[in-house]
Amino acid sequence: MLTRLKQMLIKEFIQVFRDKRARFLLFVTPIIQMLIFGYAATFEVHNVATVVLDLDHSQESRDVISRFTSSPYFDVQHQLTDSRQIEDLIDRGKATVALQINPGFAENLRKGQTAPLQVIVDATNSNTALIASGYINQIAIGFAKDYQQDRINRISPQLTERIPSVELEQRPWYNPDLRSRWFFVPGIVGTLTLVLVVQLTAFAVVREREIGTLEQIMVTPIRSGEFILGKTLPFFLIGLFDVSLIAVVGTLWFQVPFRGQVSVLFTGAILFLLCMLGVGLLISTVSATQQQAMVTAFFFLMPAVTFSGFAFPISTMPQWLQDLTYANPLRYFLVVLRGSYLKGVGMDILWPQMLAMAGLGAALLVTAVLRFRKAID
């Protein structure tokens, strides 16, 4: 049996590595995708194009504006003179945020009334708008606090020393500078592995069937179990190699910390690869042609990536979708990846994810093998 399996493996590896395009696909495209993804995927918001219209021309209004100018989140590009300019600039996409300070701003403040700050945000990108609004509010809160302090100081300086206050001391763990890249790079490792392994496995078997070599193999003394093993083992090994490759490139190039144990990451990767081999085999059993396999694989990939927590938090999805994500192996692998990279947690925390992937992997592989045998017989 071992000799037959060995022959089969040799044949598969020759087949994969002989093709120049396949080599490119296996080893170069993942790196290219990792680089593009790593640079492009970001939800961070910096240097938002901002315009300012100061109709008050007071000490106070200038104070507010200078807080915007010195903030890294806003890039104050123009000081306007007319409110009609705001509409024009935002319409043309030249400005995302417009700050307008109406006449009477300082007077209201001095009278102890609430002075409004008019802000217009282009919300075409709702996420940018949300984050930018948060930063604007923080600037306003900062100004209000300082102004309040000054006022009390003026009334009676000795009160200032006795007035209570509450402050929030924020400690963002695992990713103290809130870098999008640290969030995305570990996720890309999982996503690219998924895309690669599922497509390759689905394709390999269907291709043999389409060009008729599957029948040729079937008339040899090889058993179907050996055939399946011979077909999947190479992709398992290639997948494992690609996970390592992508992970190393991502870590070194993008300087994402790796705080956990390599062994934990690999355990997760092996379980995840088993799931993906199962999916790939399953797709190959329901596809007669390469085209069908490709299209079916695509149908699996899109939802699997979208509903995994890769870019969008699962907790904000409708409940029925959240329930469905429990059947998605990538969901668990992402927790293992981010846990290993950023959190530095081990098996004591990640065992539920490992267990889930093992269960899913077993179920997928058994179904796939059973279906596959039936398809051959």
């Binding site: 640079y39 075409t124 947690v345």
Partner: protein, 377 residues
């Protein structure tokens, strides 16, 4: 070029698409699924985030502050713990997004008129969620702090002024900061990349692979007639899909539509020509299904997904990457889509996108024709 011969090729192609159930699924159901996928799956509007609380003070004041967290839509206090270890464990295993620690001398400090600090331990693995979370938490704590100060000033016989500034934010184009209004219009570009490049490159590469393309070429049909005959059916399908997607966006996700329908049709037609030409060109140079479809995904779908401004803001990418997006047709198409759906921009503002789009369509169509003819000779 003869119209009858062109029609014959087009008819054959149409029959082929309609007969293959899997292709039929991809052209009819895939657009619907993609729109639903992103409409439901992509929500960056965070609410009810799970937080843990460790109240070491247990006073009236600390309870008041925590009630404010509970009352906010953004937080949900899922558990009150009695040790720092339980809190860190919950953040490690992901049960809590944030842990609030109220120090033991919280109320004592407020009574003494000293600043009291509340700690927020945030799981910043996902920087975007963490950012929003911190913003909301700041607002809650600041609101509490300023109320404490107002009470204190009143108790000490001072005039207590309300908060000096409030921010009046108006969000334009997407007034409710609705994630689906931001995402769904761009999905049209994804749909067309899949139909136009991915599916087309697959089917045409299949003809090369099987040798039926040579058969077709040996008939009196001219190369131009073959090309048009092959591509026009997909063009029609793509345009129907655009309309279907737009209808789902409007009726199901209530995305506004503020531009003109004609502009939508025109820009979609241009983009369709771009992706069809790409798909055809790739099938000519790759000749094998796996390579052609992979190249198609890499050169059309991936840029449309990552580099078009569909999801990730172009302005936030590294400068070099921003330049690269300048030569990507998807970028201009997505920009037009957002203007048509959300902004309702006048024609003069659309030219900046429509003109490059038309140039791309022209150049790529020429490239595809040229490479096909060269291949034949």
């Amino acid at each position: 070029m003869s119209f009858t011969r062109f029609l014959a090729v087009a008819k054959k192609e149409m029959v082929q698409v309609l007969r293959d159930s899997r292709s039929l699924i991809i052209v009819i159901i895939m657009p619907v699924i993609l729109v639903l996928l992103f409409g439901y799956g992509v929500n960056l509007d965070l609410k009810h985030l799970p937080i843990y609380v460790y109240d070491r003070d247990g006073s009236q004041q600390s309870q008041d502050l925590l009630k404010r967290f509970q009352a906010s839509d953004y937080f949900e206090i899922v558990r009150v713990v009695n040790s720092y270890r339980d809190l860190t464990r919950a953040i490690d295993d992901g049960h809590a997004k944030m842990g609030i620690v109220i120090p033991w001398d919280f109320s004592q400090r407020l009574r003494d008129g000293r600043p009291a600090q509340v700690q927020a331990l945030v799981d910043a693995t996902d920087d975007n969620t963490a950012n929003v979370l911190i913003g909301y938490a700041q607002a809650v704590v600041q609101g509490y702090s300023s109320d404490v100060q107002i009470d204190w000033l009143r108790d000490h016989g001072q005039v207590a002024h309300p908060a000096p500034v409030i921010v009046e934010t108006r969000t334009w184009y997407n007034e409710d900061l609705d994630s689906s209004a931001f995402i769904v219009p761009g999905v049209l570009a994804l749909v067309m990349s899949v139909i136009g490049a991915f599916l087309t490159s697959l089917t045409i590469a299949r003809e090369w692979e099987r040798g039926t393309m040579e058969q077709l070429i040996s008939t009196p049909v001219s190369p131009l007639e073959i090309m048009f005959g092959k591509l026009v059916p997909y063009f029609v399908i793509g345009m129907i899909d655009v309309i279907v997607c737009a209808l789902i966006a409007l009726s199901w996700f209530h995305v506004p539509f503020r531009g003109s329908f004609l502009t939508l049709l025109f820009s979609s037609a241009m983009f369709m020509i771009v992706v069809l030409s790409m798909g055809f060109f790739l099938s000519v140079i790759a000749k094998n299904q796996l390579a052609a479809s992979q190249l198609a995904l890499l050169t059309t779908f991936l840029p449309a997904f990552l580099l078009s401004g569909f999801l990730y803001e172009i302005e936030q990418m590294p400068v070099v990457l921003q330049w690269i997006t300048g030569i990507l047709p998807a970028r201009y198409y997505v920009s037009v889509l957002k203007k048509i759906f959300l902004k309702g921009s006048p024609a003069t503002l659309l030219y900046a996108d429509l003109v490059p789009l038309a140039i791309f369509a022209f150049v790529l169509a020429l490239l595809a024709t040229h490479s096909f003819q060269k291949k034949l000779t």
